[in-house]
């Protein structure tokens, strides 16, 4: 995992976990790697992972079971869809901002997106 070091790392870990949930790489009810394992794997401070897990728990994405680890909350499909939408929204907003920066108008953006998807 490569980090953009301009953004707090714990937020990027949270985002990555949510992304994996919404693509199905991580399953609801499944266990997240232990803090130590994940810290060694992605080479970040264990305290940063703890922070990311805490924030995910606060948002209701994960839950900690004492002595067992951190688990993804077994939620309904609706909330996974919501997560997917919120990630998608973030990307789209970034995309629109970049397009505006190079002077593409909203109408042109829509046309370009339609064209690109159509070509696929």
């Amino acid at each position: 995992m490569d980090f953009d070091k301009n953004v707090p790392i714990y937020m990027q870990i949270m985002f990555e976990i949510k992304r994996r949930i919404s693509t199905g790489q991580l399953n609801p009810g499944g266990k997240l790697p232990s803090v130590r394992d994940l810290a060694e794997e992605i080479k970040v401070n264990p305290n940063t992972i703890v922070r990311a897990y805490q924030e995910l728990e606060r948002e209701g994405v994960t839950e900690t079971r004492r002595g067992m680890g951190t688990f993804i909350v077994d939620s309904d499909k609706n909330s996974i869809l919501q997560m997917k939408n919120s990630i998608g929204k973030t990307f789209v907003q970034e995309f629109i901002k970049k397009m505006h920066e190079v002077g593409v108008t909203d109408a042109e953006i829509i046309n370009l997106v339609k064209e690109s998807i159509g070509e696929k």
Partner: protein, 233 residues
Amino acid sequence: MEKILEITNLTKKYFSKKALKNVNLSLDKGRILGLMGPNGSGKTSLLKIIAGLQHSNSGEVLVCGKKIGTETKKLVSFLPDKNVLYPYMKAIDAINFFQNYYDDFDVNKAFELLDFMKLDKDEKVSSMSKGMIEKLNLSLTFSRNAKLFVLDEPLGGVDPVAREKIISTIIKTYNEDSSIIISTHLVNDVESIFDDVCFIDKGEIVLCGSAEQLRSEKNCSIDKLYIETFQNN
């Protein structure tokens, strides 16, 4: 939270030259602190005082509430910026030497780390490369069950693969009961393992804080912040 290290109004002079001016710093248990600053800013002086290898002129340094002395040397495991092992020693001799010297030295851990670093226990220090010596010294430093690990430039002069290994070892060794101080110039390579960062310039602390908080407050990486802070020197 329990303080592993507390420094108040520390001053160090080398004759008329002030190396450290009124340094105040504290470190909580279970934290990893990055100490950064240009050459000659006072990093090594500060670390040597913490390790009990140099005396300060004024101010107070407490490790786990104790004044620097024989007792704190038992709590602090120090990795100097220069190799201190004799060239004739084999890795195994160095391990035995450390075992004799420190009560808290864990031989099994030393062998484990040696293995992880892919070092041969029968190789002599004199035939090792710079990176290998660095890795050997780091293995020895981390084989102690210390409260505070003080690493002076653990990444200087080693190739990127060795650097990865060293960073992995630091993360592996980390536990909630001890703290680690790392001085470095290679900010970009290690900034993701720091809880706290401290910038030191001309013997004075110019910036100190939580790494993640600084990232979100200043909207930039610690590396960039470092360049911004020191580019006018």
